[in-house]
């Protein structure tokens, strides 16, 4: 098993990839996933989700989870 990592929008561009599967060895929380996969400094205002639920950066991650990183959302309208 492994952890699926997704990057969106400006975070995707900064990291230079949108999707990756990483080995879960040594991964305890969201910050570990970032360090292992992104390999660039964490941007200000970074948001994260585990299995499509918003998550804190210190929240635990388990084998098989999908972890996503993205900037603040800008949907809707003016």
């Amino acid at each position: 098993m492994s952890i699926t990592v997704r990057f969106f929008a400006s975070v995707r561009e900064r990291v230079g990839k949108q999707l990756e599967a990483i080995d879960c060895a040594g991964i305890n929380n969201v910050a570990d996933v970032w360090r292992q996969s992104a390999r660039v400094p964490m941007p200000d205002n970074l948001l994260a989700a585990i299995n499509m639920e918003y998550a804190r950066i210190d929240q635990p991650v388990r084998d098989g989870d999908e972890v996503a990183f993205f900037p603040p959302v800008t949907g809707g309208a003016p």
Partner: protein, 146 residues
Amino acid sequence: MTVRLLAEAFDPWREIVRYQEEQPALAGKFGATTVFVGTLRDFNQGHAVQAMTLEHYAPMTGEHLERVAREASERWPIADLLVIHRYGELRPNDPIVCVAVWAEHREAAFAACRYLIDELKTRAPFWKQEQTRQGRRWVAPEPKVK
């Protein structure tokens, strides 16, 4: 209660008419309909906008729109609601989002409509990238008012 994510341009007024006609149980039962339509302007923060790309995170985006819709229908006495949100490539004057609420009275209809647009803006994972003459740029979120 319906939430839709669309990749193609849509006419919000036609969608509202069609949706209303498809709900025969609504006929005669609602006194108030409120609608919000968000439309892409051709300028933003001093720049002429040529196009916009709306990126989203399927299916997380749809799930969060559904959740906001459920919350609105639990908080206020409303008869029905429709949310349509675009993603992909948009041109100026294209509708971005449409929220329609049907209720017996206008108090609930206004409150639910406002809640839906405010919450989906801050919770549904969408990201706007504008195309201007100066190039592409990611749109920064609005400062929080509340």
